[in-house]
């Protein structure tokens, strides 16, 4: 009886699940169809008559590979930066005593809650004054340390056994050696969570890459997609090939690293 009622609940959820996934399904199917979307019919949703031409077109037509390259480079460098810097900062907060420790740590928590819209204008001005406008520096440097990452790494490092560090110190290892040779390897699970989350956030990021760049060659994939417009009508099959290439890595990443992604997203929430 109990099993039956559970099965009923499952069946009940199938319709909402289909609804939630429909937009993505629709996009993937139409990125693989020849015809335009002028007069849609329900049978267009069937996976028949599929072709990869739209994907081939967007690569041969324009600077599409530049957008992908920019997105990959920016997300990758920002991720590596965060892995290194959040470990350094998190380690200091976890293990060291120093003046202003409390307010400095609180500052990270406060920044985490501050709505980012407030810095749109001043960051734009600052990046211009620094001469970084429309360059990789603008897309990378301000985002190399993430307050959530500091929080995550401090938490994790605090719970590591201190004896290993002390033994290494007695053997004459310096601070940097301890950080790179002991703390970082021991923190692999936390670094995986952090790295995946930072990569996905930056891969999807739109607002700041959009306001801090101007030229086509500096556009990341989301920015290029948002600014894509044909002259009269939108060329949907080709646009959807582009959006599919933006969405696909995220979905594959999620399916592979589901555990890390879920724990990264809920880590902050459960501590509150």
């Amino acid at each position: 009886m109990k099993k039956l009622s559970k099965l009923m609940l499952s069946l009940l959820l199938i319709v909402p699940l289909a609804g939630a996934l429909f937009p993505l399904y629709f996009m993937f199917i139409h990125s693989l169809k020849k015809s335009g979307l002028a007069t849609l019919q329900l049978r267009d949703l069937l996976p028949v008559g599929l072709t990869f031409n739209n994907y081939i077109d967007i690569f041969s037509a324009g600077p599409f590979e530049i957008f992908i390259f920019n997105s990959v480079i920016v997300a990758l460098v920002v991720t590596l930066g965060n892995l290194l810097f959040c470990t350094m900062v998190g380690y200091a907060f976890a293990r060291r005593r120093f003046p202003l420790k409390e307010p400095l740590f609180a500052s990270a928590l406060v920044i985490l809650m501050i709505p980012a819209h407030i810095i749109i204008i001043p960051i734009y001005i600052l990046i211009n004054r620094l001469g970084w406008y429309d360059s990789y520096l603008a897309l990378i440097i301000p985002w190399l340390v993430n307050p959530l990452g500091i929080f995550l790494m401090r938490q994790y490092i605090e719970n590591l056994p201190e004896e290993i560090e002390e033994a290494a110190r007695l053997d004459g290892a310096g601070d940097f050696k301890i950080l790179f040779k002991i703390i970082m390897p021991l923190s692999k699970p936390a670094l995986a969570v952090l790295g995946i989350q930072i990569f996905l956030t930056n891969w999807n990021s739109f607002l700041f890459p959009f306001i801090l760049t101007a030229s086509e060659k500096m556009r990341t994939l989301p920015v290029a997609l948002a600014l894509y417009r044909g002259y009269q009508t939108i060329d949907w099959p080709h646009l959807f090939a582009g959006t599919a290439l933006s969405a696909l890595p995220v979905i594959l990443f999620f399916l592979v690293f589901q555990k890390q992604i879920v724990s990264g997203l809920t880590a902050g929430a459960l501590k509150q």
């Binding site: 699940l17 204008i121 739109f206 948002a226 949907w236 999620f254």
Partner: protein, 295 residues
């Protein structure tokens, strides 16, 4: 010994440097700079800022576009969050009962919320178009629909974007609720069951009270996020038709980075900042109060 201590001190500060630089240069300085700019007439095109006192703020509250943006943003926030929260809670409670395919449901509902908002907004632009699937479906069911497409209708555009937001965001908050549900000790339910409490009674007396902190968190972060709605507007409507989807952050973007009225735009951003802070404080207070009464 002393030398070693000061060396340790040095590396401590070296370790902290990335955060101190980021905090000062990319957060504190911009925050203060734009606070200052909000009292000036600064434009990056005209050079030096001039102090204008409260002029920008006065102008804002007689600026019909800004008031419309504030109204739209409020409608968006208060019209979406109750639905997102309730749907997320219902989904999480059902999935948490270890129904067949629970993992599949969890992943399936969550995936739209980690897909880039630009991508989702582009897909929905098509779905909401005159001949899009949403109209096609409504036609089949015989319901009325905006013939020129949802996003071209002054009445339907904002609700369309709101429906989309709930549609996408639910999965993320469902995941947070699932994590909270997992942390409720199973013995509580077993004890209640032994005492003969029914499923509804268990939900009401055990599940709901335990989900209170997560509900507060979910509502607060969703409020902060929703007040800043921008990408959907930029991709789907550019604030139109006739300002019917103009939001505050879109207004900040237009004034500050398209017309370069940076003082005015900063004032607007700060007004929104204060609005968000007030609502977060009220939510924290209300929940705190509710908890004290419950105790």
């Amino acid at each position: 010994m002393n030398l070693q201590r000061s060396k340790a001190h040095l590396t401590t500060w070296l370790f902290l440097t990335p955060w101190i630089v980021t905090l000062l240069l990319f957060w504190l300085y911009p925050l203060l700079h734009s606070l200052y700019l909000s009292f000036t007439d600064y434009s990056i095109l005209s050079g030096e800022p001039h102090w204008v006192g409260l002029e920008n703020f006065k102008r804002l509250f007689s600026d019909e576009d800004f008031l419309k943006a504030l109204e739209n943003t409020s409608i968006f926030v208060f019209g979406t969050i109750p639905f997102t929260t309730i749907f997320a809670l219902i989904l999480a409670v059902i999935i948490n009962r270890r129904i067949p395919g629970a993992g599949l449901f969890r992943a399936g509902f969550f995936i739209p919320s980690i897909t880039s908002m630009v991508v989702m907004a582009l897909i929905f632009t098509n779905l909401y178009s005159a001949g899009g699937y949403i109209n096609l479906l409504l036609k089949l069911t015989g319901l009325s629909f905006p013939k020129d497409g949802w996003l071209h209708s002054e009445r339907a555009a904002l609700p369309a974007i709101m429906i989309m937001d709930v549609w996408i965001a639910v999965g993320y908050y469902m995941l947070l609720y699932l994590a909270a549900l997992k942390s409720i000790p199973g013995e509580l339910y077993e004890a209640a069951e032994l005492e003969g409490a029914g499923a509804f009674s268990r939900f009401w007396h055990i599940t709901l009270p335990h989900l209170r902190p997560m509900t507060l968190f979910v509502v607060v972060i969703n409020t902060i996020r929703s007040f800043q709605i921008f990408i959907e507007i930029f991709v789907m409507t550019k604030g139109g038709p006739l300002n019917s989807t103009l939001t505050v952050v879109y207004f900040v973007f237009e004034e500050g980075l398209e017309r370069f009225n940076m003082g005015y735009a900063s004032a607007c951003a700060y007004v929104l900042f204060v609005v968000i802070a007030i609502f977060s404080a009220i939510q924290l207070k209300l929940f705190g109060l509710g908890r004290r009464i419950a105790d």
